[in-house]
Structure formats: structure tokens, C-alpha cells
């Protein structure tokens, strides 16, 4: 079974080598990785090059959605069976990879999301404002789909071959995680959330700032409500 870890990186010079080294030292599964350098303006590219890390260099900053989709395209072109999204900032813990992969290997799920809010595994739970935003989005998804999803914005998730193919062709550029989670549930894909440990980012700055949390929540809620109009949300 071919497994790929996709690591989007934008100005991650402080964390990226450490993150990749942890993946390289992980021996439980035979896992490949690809770093997507999303037009970083710091030393990220130089570090990737000098450390002989497998990476895709995007010519300019495309944003998180398009950057992660590049990884899914790479997974699709290279015929991977499972693709795992993994942040380049040190928030995600490599030791929980098997927990994400197992339900897909056992064919219990098509997509597995690593959640901070299950089993109380994770001490780090993000800011209060962002947690409130997550709860509201989660409530909206429950109302519309009937399925309770706790960590809707988690970027730590694994998908199977079917969804790799879908994401390679069509992936939202804005607010990709909550929107794709909801769209996949609506389209009848088997969804599973598992408890994982998440750490506070080691260096750099998050793509979602504190003051942007409310704006983010409103946008995501609106996008979810309008999803039926969009081709991504339509049943197929």
C-alpha cells in the first residue's frame, strides 16, 4: 500500500526540517512524503534544497487550499493509495499517523480526521475565539447533515484513493477543511474522527490569526450554506 504525507509549507524555515526528519524517522509504515513550498519568501526553499528533501516548488504563493491540492495531484499522478495532510509547523504528531491510517486500511472509513476534541488526548486546543468558531461551524454541519463532527478545521487527515482522485480534480481554495468535510459527508463517504495529540506551533505564525477567527467563522458558515449551489457540494 502506497502512503504519502503532504506537507504544505509557507515561510516555515523554523520548523520544516524538524517536521520532515520526524517523518523520515517514522518506521511503523513505509511512508513517502512531499513538501509543497508555497512561494515562501524566507529560507524554506534553500533549506529544502540543501537537505535533499523531496519537494514541489510552487512559482508563487497560491494559498493553503491550492497548495494542499498540489499534493493531492502529486498523489493521484503517482498512484498513491492513501494521502495524509500534515502541517509543516510542528503542530501535528507523527506518532498518531497509524491511528489515522488504520480505519482506511480496514476499509472502515474513506476519510479520517485527527481531532483535538476526542479522548482529551490533546492538551493544545487552540484559542478560545477559534474554539467558539469551530463549535458554531460544527453545530451548523450537524444541523445540515445530521453528523456530529468535532474538529471541523483540523488539517491533520487521511483520505483513500477515491477521495485523492476527487481532490486532485476539484478542491476548494478557501476554507478547504470544513467545506470538504461537509461535502464528503453529504456525498455519503464514510467519515471517521480519531483523537490525536496536537502541539502548539514551534515558530512562525499561523495562517488564521486571532482577530480573523470571527471573520473566518462567518465565511465558513456562509460557504457551507451556499455549497449546494457549488459543483463541489452537489451529489455525484
Amino acid at each position: 500500500m502506497k502512503i504519502l504525507i503532504i506537507i504544505p509549507a509557507y515561510n516555515e524555515e523554523a520548523n520544516i526540517i524538524n517536521t520532515v526528519n520526524k517523518i523520515k524517522n517514522y518506521k511503523k509504515y513505509n511512508i513517502d512524503y512531499i513538501v509543497i513550498n508555497d512561494g515562501s519568501t524566507d529560507q524554506t526553499k534553500v533549506l529544502l534544497e540543501s537537505n535533499k528533501i523531496n519537494y514541489i516548488d510552487l512559482p508563487y504563493n497560491l494559498g493553503i487550499g491550492a497548495s494542499v491540492q498540489t499534493g493531492y495531484k502529486y498523489a493521484y499522478y503517482n498512484d498513491y493509495d492513501i494521502a495524509i495532510q500534515f502541517d509543516g509547523d510542528g503542530q501535528h504528531d507523527i506518532n498518531y499517523i497509524d491511528k489515522l491510517i488504520e480505519p482506511i486500511v480496514q476499509k472502515e472509513a474513506d476519510i479520517v480526521v485527527g481531532s483535538r476534541f476526542i479522548d482529551n488526548t490533546s492538551k493544545f486546543r487552540s484559542t478560545k475565539a477559534r474554539q467558539l468558531g469551530i463549535n458554531i461551524i460544527s453545530f451548523l454541519i450537524k444541523m445540515l447533515s445530521g453528523k456530529k463532527l468535532l474538529d471541523v478545521t483540523s488539517g491533520f487527515r487521511a483520505i483513500n484513493k477515491n477521495i485523492i482522485q476527487i481532490f486532485a480534480k476539484n478542491y476548494p481554495y478557501d476554507f478547504p477543511e470544513p467545506i470538504t468535510n461537509y461535502a464528503l459527508i453529504k456525498n455519503g463517504f464514510k467519515f471517521k474522527e480519531v483523537g490525536v495529540m496536537m502541539h502548539e506551533r514551534v515558530g512562525g505564525s499561523s495562517s488564521i490569526k486571532l482577530f480573523g477567527s470571527i471573520y473566518y467563522m462567518f465565511n465558513v458558515c456562509l460557504s457551507i450554506l451556499l455549497l449546494d449551489l457549488n459543483k463541489f457540494g452537489r451529489k455525484n
Partner: protein, 115 residues
């Protein structure tokens, strides 16, 4: 009614407008398909200058009291449609350029591996 001086002045401006559109098509800065809309707008302006009573009839028909209000209203609607169309086109082009950038990145990665 428009005075003769105003009519001549307006016709000169419209001729100038047609020259700009024609020049853009001639120098390949605008595709012929998109130039049709701009020519139609010019023809419409020309018709209104030659036959201003048309405007009076239209404004009575739609219930707008003064012709200037009708013109402002039509102008605003035209600009709204135009800006919506440009926004739509801009988004399509953005999507295309993102796909190109992604494919370039993947191809560069494949080339680096063969080195």
C-alpha cells in the same frame, strides 16, 4: 432637444470612441468577439444623439421623469453588468493560472528527480 453645437460635439466624441475601439481590435489588444459589445454601445449612443426623442419615449415608458435620470440609471446598470463580467472572467483566469502553477511545480519536481 439637443442644440446643433452639442450634437456636433457629442458626435466628435463618439467618432473618437469608435477610433479607440477600432484601434484596439486592429492592434490585437481586444478580440473581435468582445469588441461587438463596445461597438453596440457606440451605435446606441450615436442613435440617441441623432434621435433624442427616443430617450423621451423610453423614459415615459419606464416611468422615469427626467431623461438624465434614465441615462444615469442605464449607465449604472451597464457598469454593474460589466464589472460582474470582469469579476467572473478574472476568477476564471485566476483558477487557470493556479492549475498551471501546480502543474509546473509537479513537473519541476519530476525533472529534479531525474538529475
Amino acid at each position: 432637444m439637443l442644440s446643433l453645437n452639442l450634437k456636433i460635439f457629442a458626435i466628435i466624441i463618439i467618432i473618437f470612441y469608435f477610433c479607440i475601439v477600432l484601434n484596439a481590435v486592429h492592434k490585437d489588444k481586444m478580440p473581435i468577439k468582445s469588441s461587438i459589445l463596445w461597438f453596440l454601445i457606440g451605435i446606441l449612443m450615436f442613435a440617441f444623439i441623432l434621435f433624442p426623442e427616443m430617450l423621451i419615449k423610453i423614459s415615459k415608458l419606464v416611468g422615469i421623469e427626467t431623461i438624465s435620470n434614465l441615462l444615469f440609471f442605464c449607465g449604472m446598470i451597464c457598469l454593474l453588468i460589466l464589472s460582474f463580467d470582469l469579476y467572473r472572467l478574472n476568477n476564471l483566469e485566476k483558477r487557470k493560472s493556479i492549475v498551471l502553477a501546480q502543474e509546473i511545480g509537479i513537473i519541476k519536481n519530476a525533472i529534479n528527480k531525474t538529475k
